[in-house]
Structures are given as C-alpha cells and as structure tokens.
C-alpha cells in the first residue's frame, strides 16, 4: 500500500518537474531569442515546435460528444531543461 502510494507521489513529482522545467526552459529560450542576433543559433534555441492533437480528437455519441486535445509547445531550451530537471529529480 505504502509502496503504491510512494510510486504515485514519485510519478506526480516527475510530471511536475517536467512541466516546471519545461516552462522555465521555454522562457529561457524566448529570452535568448530576444537577446541573440539573428542566425542559426538564434533560431535553433528560440524556435519552438508544437506536438499534440491539433485539431482535437472529437467523438460524437449522439447523446454526448467528447473532444480530447492537448498540445505541447517546446523549444530546444525547454527540452534540454526538462531533461536536466529529470536527472536532478532522480538524483535528489
């Protein structure tokens, strides 16, 4: 019982770390994009790529219709930050 709860807490922690580090990394990427001169480095760090269900997946069952959609927008700084956050979280 304790082990299962510990696992659930750990999973929630990982998700939280990924989201927070992703947000911080993306922000840092945007900041670098504003600071760095135009060039391939500027574009590589600041340009983001979006993944997810776009447009959202819709299921219409007559009496109820369900739409499921999510979109993750990441730049390379965000991705790097998430990776680093995951490593630090595992070590901590």
């Amino acid at each position: 019982m304790l082990i299962r709860e510990e696992r659930r807490n750990r999973f929630q922690g990982i998700i939280l770390v990924l989201i927070l580090s992703g947000i911080l990394g993306n922000l840092f990427g945007v900041f670098l994009g504003a600071v760095l001169p135009q060039g391939s480095l500027h574009d590589a760090l600041s340009m983001s790529k979006a993944f997810g269900l776009d447009p959202p997946l819709s299921v219409d069952l007559w009496i109820v219709s369900v739409s499921i959609g999510f979109n993750i927008k990441l730049n390379s700084c965000g991705l790097l930050s998430m990776f680093l956050g995951l490593i630090f979280y595992k070590k901590a």
Partner: protein, 366 residues
C-alpha cells in the same frame, strides 16, 4: 533578362525552337559568306595626272598625244572597276582658275557617287595641259584627299617627268605623313632621262611604292588595270577578314556569359521560404521581374547574360521568411572571373551562420 523558375526545357515546342534556331543562323552565315564579294569594298583610288605642257607630245608612233593616251586609259580603267570603288582626280600643275576656296589641283574629290563626273573630267580637252608644276606639293596635298581609316587607298601618279619642285626626292623626303593603307604607284610615260627616272624611283621607294617606266610601245591601260584590280581584290579580302573577325568576336562575346541561379536549401525548421531582396552586378542593380518566394528545394534563374571577359563582382541579399516574419541576410559577395568564350555558372545557396544568415556560392566554368 528574365527571372523564371527553372524547369525542364523539353517537349515539341522546345524541339521546334531548337531546330529552327539551328538552321536559321546557318543560312544567315552562308549568305554572309557569299555576300561580301560585292558591296563591302572600301577602295579609294586617286589619279594624280601630270598636265604639264609636255603631255601634248606623243610617246607612241601613232602620234597620239600622251594626255589623250592617259585620258583613254584612265577612262577604260574607271569603266572596268566596280561601282563601289571611290575614284578621285588631281592634276598638276593645278589650273590657274580654280573655284574660290577650293584646291584647284583637286578636280574630283574621292567619292563613290561621282563616277560620272570623274569620267567627264578625264577628257583631254578638259585637262588641257600647260606650264609646269611641282609633283612634291601635289602628292602632299593628295594625302589629305583620302579618308582616315584602314581601308585600302591607291594613289597613282601618271607623269612624263620628275618635277620634284626644286629639291630632289632623293635628297629630301616628303614632309606630310602618309595615310594608313596607302599604295603608291608612279607610272612614267616615255621618260628618257636617267636622272628623272632616278628621281621617280627615289619617290616610290620613300612611299614603299612602285615606279613603272613605260616606253612608247607599252600600253598604259594594261598597266593600270591590274594594279587597280589587285587593290580591289585585296580590299575585298580585307573586308571579308574584318567581317569574319567581327563575327568571331561577336560569337565569342555571345558565348562569354555569366549565369546565376539561386537554390533554397534551408531546412523548413529555419525558413518557410526565401526571397531575393537585392542582386547587384558590378555595383549595378539587376532588375528582377517578380519577387518570387522560393520554398525548400526550389531554384530560380536570376540572370543569364553576355558579359565582358574579366573579373566581376556579384552581391546578393535575401529575406528569410518564417511564420510571416522576414529576416534579412547579410550581403553575400562573390568575385567571379568570366573567361572568354566560356559560360561561368554560379549557384548560390543560403546558409545559416551562428549569428547571421549568409550565402555560399558554387562556381563552374564550361
């Protein structure tokens, strides 16, 4: 100059155009090669005729005066030469009553259109020999009668004595500069005195010409005609050579070309498309017809034009479009060498450096 998207030139329309463009220049070339035998000759002939009183004497046994022989021979030559030969007539001593403001020695200025006037002026009665005059002075004046240029010029002196004008031709050279392309002949009629012959020989040597001393039995017309015909033939050959050389240079120049293409090789992550912003050749703007945007993998022929041989500077700039925003590149400068008779093919590729967008070039000479 056109800016058109590169596409494969194939299909019936292209083949028809290719075949036509192959036959047509060949026909033109054939016509051009056959044509110059007539109408392209720039031969200028001037006769400088001695009209001193001694020309009334006869040199032949049939008692025909020398001036009549000269008039008939020159007339015969004039009638046999093609109409594209410009002929002029100068006499010495000059008539005392010349038209005001004109050189009285110059009877007919050298002109293609004045053949009729020339034939009328060559009549013995109009030449009317009398007195004595200086050959030296009239030769120097005759130099001014010819037009400038490299065309063949023929000056034929027909005389029956030296008349050096007080100073020997052997002792003092002519003062005036000879026109370019001048051929000089002296034809003396029945000159017996060796000193006169020597004078005339000295003069012809000075002029890199030829002196011909005719005796009473020689025919003047049969001496004159080959000289004039040879000059005409040589001039026609020279004109052909000049035309061929001009054609060769034109052909060479049309093959000496600079062809510039641009290809978008940027990854779509960095650019949706690129657009040529500026194209300068040797500091002058090359007008581009349409501001085309090139997506990844697309190419554009910026220009293909005949250029002078040597070094040229090509400067290009582009706009990199991504999500509706345009980022200008730095100016890509290429010093390109165009070789004679060859096409220099320049391919331009956009490239991302760390802190700017630039061009990279690939040059080929074929």
């Amino acid at each position: 100059m056109t800016a058109a998207k590169i596409s494969n030139a194939s299909g019936p329309a292209f083949r028809t155009l290719f075949l036509c463009s192959g036959r047509f220049p060949a026909i033109l070339l054939l016509i051009a090669l056959l044509w110059p035998a007539r109408g392209f000759c720039d031969l200028y002939v001037e006769f400088l005729i001695d009209r001193s009183g001694s020309m009334w004497a006869s040199s032949s046994q049939d008692k025909v005066p020398k001036i009549v022989q000269v008039a008939e021979a020159v007339k015969r030559v004039a009638n046999k030469l093609p109409p594209d030969v410009a002929m002029g007539l100068r006499v010495y001593p000059p008539p005392a009553k010349g038209a005001a403001g004109r050189d009285p020695g110059l009877q007919i200025p050298i002109d293609k259109e004045k053949r009729e006037e020339f034939l009328e002026a060559i009549e013995a009665s109009r030449l009317n020999p009398r007195g004595r005059g200086s050959l030296r002075e009239q030769i120097e004046r005759a130099f001014q009668d010819f037009p400038a240029g490299k065309d063949t010029k023929l000056l034929i002196v027909i005389c029956d004595g030296a008349d050096p004008g007080g100073v020997s031709f052997c002792e003092k050279a002519l003062g005036a500069a000879r026109p370019q392309g001048l051929r000089f002949y002296i034809i003396s009629l029945n000159v017996e005195r060796p000193s006169d012959r020597d004078e005339l020989d000295c003069l012809s040597r000075q002029m890199d010409g030829k002196s011909i001393h005719l005796s009473s039995s020689d025919s003047l017309a049969s001496t004159l005609l080959p000289i004039a015909r040879m000059a005409h033939k040589d001039e026609a050959a020279r004109q052909r050579r000049v035309a061929e050389e001009r054609r060769r240079i034109e052909e060479l120049l049309s093959k000496t070309r600079l062809k510039v293409e641009i290809h978008n090789t940027l990854d779509p992550f960095f650019a949706d498309s690129i657009q040529i912003d500026q194209c300068l050749l040797d500091g002058k703007e090359v007008p581009l017809q349409t501001p085309l945007k090139l997506k990844q993998g697309e190419g554009l022929l910026l220009f293909d034009r005949a250029m002078a041989e040597g070094s040229h500077q090509l400067a290009l700039r582009y706009l990199k479009w991504k999500d509706g925003k345009a980022v200008p590149s730095v100016e890509g400068i290429l010093d390109v060498r165009v070789e004679e008779g060859k096409t220099t093919h320049v391919q331009c590729f956009p490239r991302g450096a760390l802190f700017h967008w630039e061009f990279t070039f690939k040059t080929q000479t074929k």
